[in-house]
């Protein structure tokens, strides 16, 4: 039986007392203070802070206890199954955490002389090579901070490519399937493209007929997730690549679902020109409640010249940062990437090697198909699109029937799952499945934990028919019961900060 900690922990501003201190920063030495005198004589009057920031005042113990209690009201991969589809919530090896906390990494400034950072440059250089090998691309840039950031870079590379060819003005469209992640159209739009959506066929794959009709001399490229968000491998990838390339477009690989292909097949071999990798999914680095992640981008030889500066170079003896890249698009962030995240991926690849990574892919697929098999037959759930074809890393069920028969929706199922100490799958995505439950178990969970999930799913579907109230009112065992999300976004009640909350409360009284 699961029962999450439910501290009645107030917002930190209501804790503590005036005058309490949690941390005292070092003081400037006496001689320095004497030499300079009163700071106010240095600071121009109009730029001095006259009102103290209204921050809480707490002792160190209070701060520690407050955040410890908060952490107890959270759930991570270490707590149990976290089958969020397309998010690849796998175990985060602890050795990688340990390595990422070494001062020999933590205390490095990005502008240090190259002679003092040879170690980290060597790691990054090798990681680039390994990721290029794994994705079947020519060169990899480690700079993007997240998958969507990689997508932005990818679409900017398309822009640069077509610009150099002199037909950017004409090539104004990026095609995305209707099953695509929301980031794909958003990234395309950010890079200045119009978005054209192509529907999926009955098999859940890109409809070739629709794709042929969609491509034209306006096509800049196609963004594709493969296996797609239904967990199905795009069976016509050959033909898709041919159609897009013949139209003069580039093929972009959304790497959110790379996990099942590791060391089994490579996007580059399938004709993808640009590939992003979600390090925080496929390469086991923790999601940290939303980030930091890393979204390296691999490209063909032809596109490599456009990658952001600096590139990491190696002359056989020394590693360097090379800014001399006249065709580079420039930069999409400061410095060189989320290095502490990338270091973990380096250690992960080193721990597994080719065989280990292949096993990761295979077991992730095996687990997804096992869950799919075990959930087929759950009352009220259906498996849309080709129900015989094996899935890859994830499978998508629909609770549409369940909802129409019992009133219990995908959302209700998700909430009820929490009661059993299981995280919910991704819900209401992909958009092409009504009442979608998108389930990705990853390779890291053992059969017993997968069984616990499927058994509870069956139980919840049963409850929907027998005691629907239990499901409709879930969750019961989490830190808080169901939240009022409408209140959170209504202009009258919206409180996006403590000061906004105080202001609204004052208005009420």
């Amino acid at each position: 039986m699961f029962k999450q900690a439910s501290w009645d922990e107030p917002v930190i501003f209501s804790r503590g007392r005036k005058g309490r201190r949690g941390h005292i920063p070092p003081k400037a030495e006496q001689e320095i203070r004497q030499a300079l005198g009163d700071l106010n004589s240095l600071l121009p009057k109009n730029m001095q802070r006259t009102s103290r920031p209204r921050l809480p005042e707490l002792s160190e113990v209070e701060v520690m206890r407050h955040f410890l209690r908060l952490s107890e009201m959270n759930y991570g991969v270490d707590s149990g199954l976290y089958p969020l589809g397309s998010c690849t919530m796998k175990y985060n090896p602890k050795i990688n955490e340990l390595l990422a906390s070494l001062p020999s990494l933590n205390m490095l400034n990005p502008y240090q002389d190259e002679s003092t950072v040879q170690g980290i440059l060597e790691i990054l250089y090798r990681l680039e090579r390994w990721l290029a090998e794994i994705t079947g691309t020519h060169e990899v840039c480690l700079q993007p901070a997240a998958g969507a950031h990689g997508e932005l870079l990818g679409t900017l590379l398309m822009r640069a490519h077509h610009k150099l060819n002199g037909d950017y003005e004409k090539r104004s469209e990026i095609i995305v399937p209707d099953s695509a992640h929301g980031t794909n159209p958003a990234s395309a739009a950010m890079a200045g493209f119009n978005v054209v959506v192509v529907p999926s066929d009955d098999d859940g794959c890109v409809s070739l007929g629709a794709l042929k009709a969609a491509v034209s001399e306006r096509t800049a490229g196609l963004m594709l997730t493969n296996p797609n968000t239904l967990g199905i491998f795009e069976k016509n990838i050959d033909e898709i690549a041919r159609i897009v390339h013949e139209a003069g477009g580039l093929l972009y690989y959304d790497g959110a679902n790379l996990n099942p292909l590791l060391c089994k097949a490579r996007p580059g071999d399938m004709g993808f020109d640009i590939v992003h990798i979600n390090i925080h999914k496929t390469f086991s680095t923790p999601h940290g409640g939303g980030g930091p992640g890393a979204g390296p981008v691999g490209v063909t030889e032809e596109l490599a010249k456009f990658l952001p500066i600096p590139r990491i170079g190696f002359n056989g003896t020394r590693y360097c940062l090379d800014y001399d890249k006249p065709h580079s698009i420039g930069k999409i962030r400061g410095f060189y990437g989320n290095i502490a995240v990338l270091l973990r991926a380096y250690a992960y690849i080193l721990s597994l090697g080719n065989e280990g990574l292949k096993e990761v892919a295979e077991v992730s697929v095996l687990n997804a198909n096992y869950l799919m098999k075990k959930l087929q037959g759950a009352k009220g759930l259906t498996l849309p699109y080709n129900s015989v074809r094996p899935r890859k890393h994830e499978c998508v069920f629909s609770a549409k029937l369940l909802k129409s028969e019992t009133g219990v929706s995908a959302l209700n199922i998700a909430k009820r799952l929490l009661d059993f100490g299981l995280h919910a799958p991704t819900i209401y995505f992909p958009l092409i499945v009504e009442e979608a439950l998108m389930i990705e178990p990853t390779e890291t969970f053992e059969k017993e934990e997968l069984d616990r999930f499927t058994e509870n799913m069956h139980k919840i579907c049963e409850e929907a028919y027998t005691t629907p109230e239990t499901v409709l009112q879930a969750p019961h065992n989490t830190a808080v019961s169901k939240l009022d999300e409408v209140k959170a976004s209504h202009p009258r009640t919206m409180a996006l900060s403590w000061r906004m909350h105080l202001k609204k409360n004052a208005q009420k009284t």
């Binding site: 917002v11 501003f13 001689e31 320095i32 240095l42 600071l43 730029m47 802070r49 920031p53 921050l55 955040f67 908060l70 952490s71 107890e72 009201m73 759930y75 991570g76 707590s79 985060n92 001062p103 020999s104 933590n106 205390m107 490095l108 400034n109 502008y111 240090q112 002389d113 170690g119 790691i123 901070a145 950031h149 900017l156 929301g182 980031t183 739009a189 950010m190 200045g192 978005v195 940290g288 939303g290 980030g291 930091p292 999409i332 962030r333 400061g334 410095f335 989320n338 995240v341 295979e362 198909n369 929490l418 989490t478 830190a479 808080v480 019961s481 939240l483 999300e485 202009p491 996006l496």
Partner: protein, 454 residues
């Protein structure tokens, strides 16, 4: 496999054409044991020289600061580290409340009303701020200072160009580096979407004419965007008090290590105005109650701005952000409190100004090049001494000291100039060592020594 009815896992890959199935192993390293991995990575990293090994006087957008032990303890809590974006708020209250508190404390520091729960970094936050300003005003021109961090300027350009945004640089006063307000008045018009300044500036001095710039921007219906280093805000006037509409900046110094430049933590704040809030990029956590109103709680809100709902019409494509870094910042801010922030700001300013004074006394050295008040970074010019920054830094390194960032290529008009950074982690001793080494190098004495060592 029995349950699924397969004999080999390869059957699950049968739908991938044989020609794409890898037939031989990829060229990857052999798998190592955990111990071997640790030894290997430690050995590689030990080739680095860090600011724990030698004094390093570098900042320029990624700064060395002390991270209190409690911060490390909290951000290693596995319930936080291994969680995903809090899509299911009831089971993710810890992360949500911590992020709400991060937002709320940044509000107090900057004197703004709303903060999102992070952008990738300052540079990308600037790009997003420019795009947001054009969505709000319907205008396409952004005025930025000439003395901006060059990497930020390039990032802004890359973010802005696809949206048809044009950036124009404001010249500075030759004497004190401050933005030339006559130039601002000449360039601003009813086509200006926003005026952007940085405080402290990239070169470390405090921009003083903030009220005037703010008035000028608002008089033309443009937004006023301010970039900040939050460690200054215990002693420096917060941008909310000079009517900034959007505040961005880099919160890495609050609880996060440099890590060779990433992950960082982009601040993004605005005012309580629905027209502005609706155009915000990134995730925002809101306070609410349970549906039965029995308890307060937190959830992601205003998600209709975001990519997973609005797709190509979203305010940004950002999805994963820097949440755990924001939690680190929240813990750090809670530990410091108002008094700690004042003390931190004072210590930094004392030490940096002491170092600046000390170096300025060396003959034929100019520090700083601008006659303005400096916070934690300052410029040092070696033109009169007839040595290049590259030479000076090389000799400093031979003396086991890392000098400032060479900015002579970024800003050729300043000649041989370096940007030095001093924070609370630099001791008076280290500052003296730096000054003495510089004296030796520039007065020629250590040339002999350097050539011997070299």
């Amino acid at each position: 496999m029995q349950e699924i009815g397969i004999k080999s896992i390869d059957e699950l890959y049968a739908d991938i054409s044989q020609k794409y199935r890898l037939k031989k192993p990829l060229n990857l390293p052999h798998a190592l044991s955990e111990f071997e991995v640790k030894r290997h990575v430690e050995a590689l990293l030990s080739k680095n020289k860090t600011c724990n090994d030698i004094p390093v006087f570098l900042g320029a957008g990624c700064w060395p600061h002390y991270v209190p032990a409690v911060v490390r303890e909290i951000v290693q809590r596995s319930e936080l580290v291994t969680s995903y974006t809090p899509y299911q708020p009831e089971i993710s209250q810890g992360m949500l409340q911590a992020l709400f508190e991060y937002q709320s404390m940044i509000c107090e520091l900057t004197d703004m009303d709303i903060v999102n729960c992070s952008m990738y970094d300052w540079a990308s936050a600037l790009g997003e701020a420019a795009r947001m300003a054009t969505r709000i005003t319907g205008r396409k021109e952004i005025l930025i200072p000439k003395l901006i961090h060059p990497e930020r300027a390039v990032t802004l350009q890359v973010y802005a160009e696809p949206a048809g945004i044009v950036t124009e640089k404001l010249v500075y006063d030759k004497e004190n580096g401050q933005i030339n307000t006559d130039d601002l008045k000449g360039k601003i018009s009813n086509k200006t979407a926003a005026v952007y300044i940085e405080n402290p500036s990239y070169l470390g001095f405090i921009e003083e004419q903030v009220k005037e710039i703010s008035r000028e921007a608002h008089a033309h219906g443009a937004l006023f965007i301010v970039g900040v280093d939050p460690t200054s805000l215990g002693i420096l006037k917060p941008p909310g008090e000079y009517d900034a509409d959007i505040v961005i900046g880099e919160a890495q110094p609050l609880g996060n290590f440099m890590n060779f430049g990433g992950p960082l933590l982009g601040i993004f704040a605005c005012r309580d105005d629905m027209n502005i809030i609706r155009q915000m990029p990134g995730r925002i956590i809101g306070m609410t109650t349970t549906q039965d109103s029995s308890k307060h709680g937190f959830c992601m809100t205003l998600q209709t701005r975001e990519q997973h709902i609005r797709r190509e019409k979203a305010t940004s494509n950002i999805c994963s952000n820097e949440a755990l870094c924001a939690v680190a910042s929240a813990v750090h801010m809670a530990l410091l409190g108002p008094e700690g922030f004042r003390e931190l700001g004072e210590t930094i300013m004392y030490k940096a100004n002491y170092a600046m004074q000390r170096i300025s006394k060396i003959s034929r050295v100019k520090a700083p090049i601008f006659n303005s008040t400096h916070f934690k970074e300052f410029t040092v010019n070696f033109d009169e001494a007839g040595q290049s920054v590259e030479e000076v830094n090389k000799k400093l390194l031979q003396n086991q000291i890392h000098g400032g960032k060479n900015i002579s290529e970024e800003f050729p008009e300043f000649g041989e100039t370096a940007l030095f950074c001093v924070t609370e982690i630099h001791s008076k001793n280290e500052i003296e060592r730096l000054a003495e080494a510089l004296t030796g190098i520039l007065e020629g004495k250590s040339d002999v020594q350097a050539s011997k060592l070299g």
